[in-house]
Amino acid sequence: MDLRFGESEPTDEERAAVDALLGPPASSWEGAHERTDGDLRWARGGREARDRRDLLLPGLHAVNDRVGWISEGALAYLCRRLTVPPAEAYGVATFYAMFAMKPRPRKVVHVCTDLACMARGAAALRAGVEERLGSPGGDSDGVTWQEAPCLGLCERAPAALVVRAGPGGPEDTRSADADQATATADGAGAPPYTTAVVAPATAESVVSGAQAPDDAPAEPSAGFAVPQAGQPGLTLLRRVGVVDPRSLDDYRRHGGYAALRRAFAMGPARVIREVTDAGLVGRGGAAFPTGRKWGATAAQPDHPHYLVCNADESEPGTFKDRVLMEGDPYSLVEAMTIAGYAVGAHKGYLYLRGEYPRSLTLLTHAIGQARARGLLGDDVLGQGYAFDIEVRRGAGAYICGEETALFNSIEGRRGEPRSKPPFPVEEGLFGKPTAENNVETLVNVLPILQEGAEHFASIGGGLSTGPKLFCVSGSVGRPGVYELPFGATLGELLDLAQASPRARAVLLGGAAGGFVRPDERNIPLTFEGTREAGTTLGSGVVLVLDDTVALPRVLLRIAEFFRDESCGQCVPCRIGTVRQEEALRRIEGRTGAAAADDVALLREVGRAMRDASICGLGQTAWNAVESAIDRLGAYS
């Protein structure tokens, strides 16, 4: 490839940010300042560098984390280092909401305006922030702010996330040469990279957090998000709020790594059988049998196999995976090791959404500890099995939670879904057989191995066996993550969470899910039960809305969300989500005959989106609106 990188040069700070990730350039072909005699004789880079395309996204993060935005010079330098065409890299960088391609202040505030926060006063928060910091995207004394989709902090809504760019960001610590590179970095004097979560937020606390993120009050521990914390009878949440998430010893004292030992004693085939017999199905929303996925991956003749953990939890109202990762990070590391062992993978990728800084810190720490103690690496537990985990950060794209879009994102391409077939178990990450599982799904494997498939399968029944996590937020007295055995009803969960007596609607499954009435208390919270009731369990979102927020406003927010998050690849979703939003905007204050034409239009567009879109995003973009019209009588 004869690539053209343009004339733009990176600043010293940008160069240092990229070098901290990739190490110093080996030759002037890769962007070194000085051209040596050797460079005139040998051209290195090429294919070898191109095989590192998957470092494009971490590279973009490195620059964005350091400087706050990505300049032409920085992008050109990164492209030169990785032999990536600048047009493609530009396409990738502009895909993600957290990256800026124009200069902006180092301090960026993401103010959540999504559903759970809406139910807890996000509109007032947004107005207050605008009053103090000016309109979104502006510059107020070195601070800029933007509206954000759900930040996954729903139990503490309304929420905001502050990111201050500077040296020492997460990608700085990746390379062995990092210390050397950062030592020589320019931008010394700039305060270090930091993040601060402000939740529950007021306009004042957002502004003070943005101005001085170092002084922002510390977040409460993950146990705060689990009202049942410490109660007997919990399985998935039993360690959350109980163990120290930084201590491997504490994890082991509470039963950690017993399941991995058991897995090694059983062998991969029996592990898969056990998971199959337990009836475990995917908890990310699609409910695909995990054992079948693992079996199919393990059986592929092509190698290497990969394991991918989907921790890109972005469905509005969902925060269970965050609570698991922040409260019990080692359980995910252990579960990934077991899954990797079962499917014959030696490398696992953990794709974490970019808006979860604390999960990133804790997981990175946990993986490092596990590696240091021989629980990851060339010889896990002395069993001769090699497995390691690499964390990759998303950068603000809901679509990357779609399994094949996630592969593209890791590979350094635009996070657009691939068409299936071929399925990931045949051709997944880097075109190799891949098992991809949600965080909660993986963590379920531990009790299956420890207590046996039979016990797991005895909880609930049919397609829905085992314990299930629910993310309860909105107008409830005790929001948080709840663990209930499959088979509990909506009413039981609403009572536990002390749902407001003024509740008017309950959204199940998030923006891609559907509304039910609060009086439909008998709906069993199982995959079959919700389907029979004409709704969906999705990722376990139970979002309660009372009469303080107008339903048409909520529907409009859902439509805005899908319009923003559509990747733009296929026509029904790219344009359909825009037309859906326009129609909902037109009828926001209308009912009956005045809305009938647009409701009919919505039905037609919705049907085409559901039938003809490439992936689940477009296929479900109309679900919630449809259910609100049919079930709650919106606009009638």
Binding site: L3, Y90, V571, R574, E582
Partner: protein, 285 residues
């Protein structure tokens, strides 16, 4: 050497297409089968020289047992499959897809668009006068070709032709996301500052006329473009020894555009800047 590529014989796949038995070679798509059976399935992003991207979704058909509709252009025929191309469900999606495209994009130079809109009863006007459109101005930044992205349906064909499927120049990519996504060079720089080599292979595959010769663009602006008055003559490019086929489109004894036959087994419709744009000497009289 033969002009017909000979591969190993392929097994035939038998399935049902609109109730009739159909047999196609293994690996063939539903669209291949439809065309062999003389069925007219609309396509936009499908290209005979490119790997299907199935982005436009205008070719969707109903496959029995499928939760959603399937794109005929890329779904391979499988034994025993039952495919319906003309069901109400499939036609509804095609109608809405065409409507959505026409409501946001200028389809005036898209071959057959008007015919399909009528056939499927699509009414792009019903999304109202306020419906968001692409709202792009033509990009005229060089003497050879124009990028009029108001006509772009983002089929990815130009990106694929510029990238690893043919030219390996990688001058363009899709940038942005969702409705704001556009075909773009890095930082939306003019073509003259990009990696473009002006092979024009993107124009060759563009299904809507968003990419066109500057000569065609200017004549359309002036109202002098008359496709019916043009002749097409396929000849051999005189520049180098490869011997690519060029098809000269001539109006009023002037070459107005150059294409290349897609069925040429060597070049598959691709040319370089000389074959595509280097015809001025012919006209110096």
């Amino acid at each position: 050497m033969t002009a017909v590529p000979l591969g190993p014989p392929r097994r035939l796949v038998e399935f049902t297409l609109d109730g009739e038995p159909a047999r196609v070679p293994e690996g063939a798509t539903i669209l291949d089968a439809c065309r062999a059976a003389g069925k007219d399935v609309p396509t936009l992003c499908e290209g005979d020289t490119l790997t299907p991207k199935n982005a436009c979704r205008v070719c969707v058909v109903e496959v029995e047992g499928g939760r959603t509709l399937a794109p005929a252009c890329s779904r391979r025929a499988e034994p025993g499959m039952e495919v319906h191309t003309g069901t109400e469900r499939a036609r509804h999606s095609r109608k809405v897809v065409l409507e959505l495209l026409a409501s946001a994009t200028d389809l005036s130079t898209t071959p057959r668009a008007a015919e399909w809109l009528e056939e499927y009863g699509a009414d792009p006007m019903r999304y109202g006068p306020e419906a968001a459109r692409l709202g792009e101005e033509p990009k005229v930044d060089n003497d050879l070709y124009v990028r009029d992205y108001d006509k772009c349906i983002q089929c990815y064909k130009c990106v694929d032709a510029c990238g690893d499927q043919w030219q390996n120049s990688f001058a363009i990519s899709i940038a942005g996301r969702g409705f704001d996504a556009r075909v773009s060079t890095e930082h939306d720089a003019p073509l003259t500052d990009s990696a473009c080599v002006y092979c024009g292979n993107c124009i060759e595959v563009c299904p809507t006329g968003a990419l066109s010769f500057k000569s065609e663009f200017d004549m359309r602006e002036a109202g002098t473009w008359q496709e019916s008055a043009q002749t097409r003559t396929t000849t051999v490019c005189a520049y180098c020894g490869v011997g690519c086929n060029v098809t000269l489109h001539v109006q009023d004894n002037e070459i107005v555009k150059v294409t290349s036959p897609h069925d040429n087994p060597v070049t598959h419709g691709n040319l370089c800047i000389k074959g595509r744009f280097g015809y001025q000497h012919v006209q110096q009289r």
